[in-house]
């Protein structure tokens, strides 16, 4: 499990706290990869696990095999967090996304290490982590700007003041990209929460390590519990529940699998979920980020109010 590095330090601490020359070896502390629901790190309620393996055949960890019940719990958390998160000042959401980037920056080494365990070269791992950090900064900046770009004051012909603004659609279920297990993950979560939604995310099945560690970053970033809920497990088991749940407003799916896409669109009709497929996006390119990703989980709300005495309504005051 994991990588067991025997520390061959020649220094160790004696019982009385003094350093002394020794040849004893230090056993590495292994990490338990848990899921993240409502700001807590439980194990799956099902008690099940699976063992993803890298290309070299090395077992990565005992990873939680999340169940439908875990998903339901996560949706309850996400729904509970929605009013608070969407009600926050957009500026404040921007600060929290920036904080997420800061925390990720601080734990760069750990993410690079995990990506290398999951078959990336060192150079590619570094690039992916750097881009993931920058992507968070990018969306942190959008939090209080995209509304201005996509809002309008509408020049209606009657005596009314009328304006349209984007509003978050609600709870979003996300099946994160199977490849690009960190950059893809960050690229789909960031625009959803930047816009004020809350979400339940299913991490890459084969490369889940970064997702769990990213949940730890979220947990130390002032992001309220429940805004992002992270599950690990098998899309083949969970996708249908992700798109079936009556209290989920939108679903994001990133694979090209056309059979699954068809099934998802059929099921999404149940409560008319907004369904988005990011199956052609290259997360490393410029097109991997834009405010249009934010708009994919926004609604447009139009508000009317009468205006007294305009357009030749006569006398008045």
């Amino acid at each position: 499990m994991g990588k067991t590095i025997i520390n061959k330090s020649s220094l160790s601490i004696s019982e009385n706290g003094l350093e002394k020359k020794t040849s004893s070896k230090r056993l590495e502390v292994l990490k338990t990869y848990k899921i993240y629901i409502g700001g807590q790190f439980p194990r799956t309620e099902s008690g099940r696990y699976y063992i993803p393996v890298n290309a070299a055949g090395k077992k990565l960890a005992n990873v939680c095999l999340s169940s439908r019940k875990d998903f339901r719990d996560a949706v309850v958390s996400a729904r509970g967090a929605f009013s608070g998160w969407s009600g926050r000042a957009a500026f404040n959401r921007g600060q929290i996304l920036y904080r997420m980037a800061e925390m990720l920056e601080g734990r760069k080494a750990q993410f690079i290490d995990e990506l290398i365990q999951q078959d990336a070269t060192k150079a590619k791992a570094e690039k992916e982590v750097n881009l993931a950090i920058d992507r968070l900064i990018y969306y942190a900046g959008w939090c209080d700007k995209f509304q201005q770009l996509f809002s309008s004051v509408n020049p209606v012909a009657t005596s009314h003041f009328n304006f349209s603004v984007p509003e978050p659609t609600g709870v979003v279920s996300i099946i994160a990209p199977q490849d690009d297990s960190l950059l893809g993950l960050v690229s789909v979560i960031a625009p959803v929460i930047a816009g004020g939604n809350t979400c339940v995310v299913l991490a890459s099945e084969t490369k889940p390590l970064c997702a769990v560690t990213f949940a730890e970053v979220l947990n130390s970033s002032d992001l309220p519990g429940g805004v992002v809920n992270m599950l690990t497990g098998k899309p083949s088991e969970l996708v249908s529940w992700f798109v079936d749940h009556m209290d989920v407003n939108a679903t994001i799916y990133c694979e090209k699998d056309s059979i699954t896409q068809k099934m998802m669109r059929e099921k999404s009709a149940l409560n008319l979920k907004r369904l988005t497929f990011y199956d052609k996006v290259n997360w490393y390119s410029e097109e991997g980020q834009s405010p249009y990703f934010i708009m994919d989980t926004q609604e447009i709300k139009t508000t009317w109010h009468p205006v007294e005495n305009i357009a030749g309504a006569g006398g008045g005051y």
Binding site: M263, M264, E266, A269, L272, K301, P306
Partner: protein, 499 residues
Amino acid sequence: MPVTKKKPVKKSNTIKLKFDTSWSYDPAPESKSAATIKPQYDLFINGEWQKPLSNKYFATINPANEEKLSEVAEANTADVDKAVKAARNAYEKYWKKMPARERAKYVFRIARMVQEKARELAIIETLDGGKPIRESRDFDVPTAANHFFYYAGWADKLEYAFPNRKAEALGVAGQIIPWNFPLLMAAWKIAPAISTGNTVVLKTAETTPLTALKLAEIIEEADLPPGVVNIITGAGETGAAIVNHPDINKIAFTGSTDVGKIIQRAVAGTHKKVTLELGGKAANIIFEDAPIDQAVEGVINGIYFNQGHVCCAGSRLYVQESVAKQVIRKLKDRIESLIVGDPLDKNTDIGAINSRSQLETIQKYLKIGKQEGAEMYESSCPLPKKGFWCRPTLFTNVAQSNRIAQEEIFGPVLSILTFRTDDEVIEKANNSPYGLSAGVWTDKGSKIFNMTRRMRAGVIWANTFNKFDPSSPFGGYKESGFGREGGLHGLLPYLSLKV
């Protein structure tokens, strides 16, 4: 000795106007002679009137007297295929290649011709659908013309609408419209679609095909390249043939949530882009500090406009308890004064119910409402002998869980509920699978914005209701559908954005 209390005499400060005796209006009917309706209509495909391959026609009647107005063709799958081929051909051959500024001029031309024929269109709309001539004349037809005028101007300005993206037309749009605003819905669908460079196959509603066919005549007269707009008639099967046609790139549907869900399932596995504008059960909220008389007038307009055949109708009224008695009394007085009858009469407030089947649906809900324990009050107005009619009706003592508070009735039926606090009414208003529209009445500005922000609906009317404009985006949250029609936001459903 027991004290015998004198029963207090109920005092009322209102003097009721006796509309039935002291006030009456002479008939003021609009003349039918200003409109021409042909005895039979074919399908408008590829710029010409084509006999249906189905060889079938069906009658369209005037719901106010059940008399046959005309008969229209029933398009089958082969007819739909022909229309889609014409639209595809027009897209590749003319519309895609035409400079956008020229496209714009065609749409402007349609807008002008709708204005020129406004009176005729209004009369036909009222005859075919049963809505009061006052509404078709002052609302449906002018708003339809304005919609074409508004979107025409967008045709050559799309690069300003989507920063950093190149907007491209989708191709052929299949459009299915409802019977409540037949011409206006045709305009809402066709105007943005062709302005953005798409071509169209549009199916009218079964009971109200005539104004869209009149629009087809206008499009013919406007000399639009053949096949850019194809207008066909038929019922549910014709609609299904459009939804399932493999060479359609975009489906735009306005209608019931049930059918919307069927469409969403039907397009699974295809790349068709979909927008759905579906049902609603709008909450209309009156606070105690509202200008009560204006609010009552707004509630009346909110639910009885177009016989309540409005997806965004304010069918759930929430009144703050302290003013509930007063508001309900005023509402009862007001519905008593509504004039129900001949839709062609310029004094008529409430016309005919659109069809027998819709009348049956409404009557079913009236029965359900009473069975559930709500109190029904209806206007005492007389109803014409022939045709489909429903008196303006309201229910008091309605519970949040009652079906008449949850389900869309699509008729002149108001369900009244009460509340005490802001939080309570928000909870109740949002407790619906729908989210199309909502209304709030209060004189306090900060309260308005608190409410408009927290209500989960696509269109919010504050101190007004049922207002529409071509520049104002319209569309729902949740099960009221997705996508917007109107305004800048109404362009996107007909475009794909390229980097």
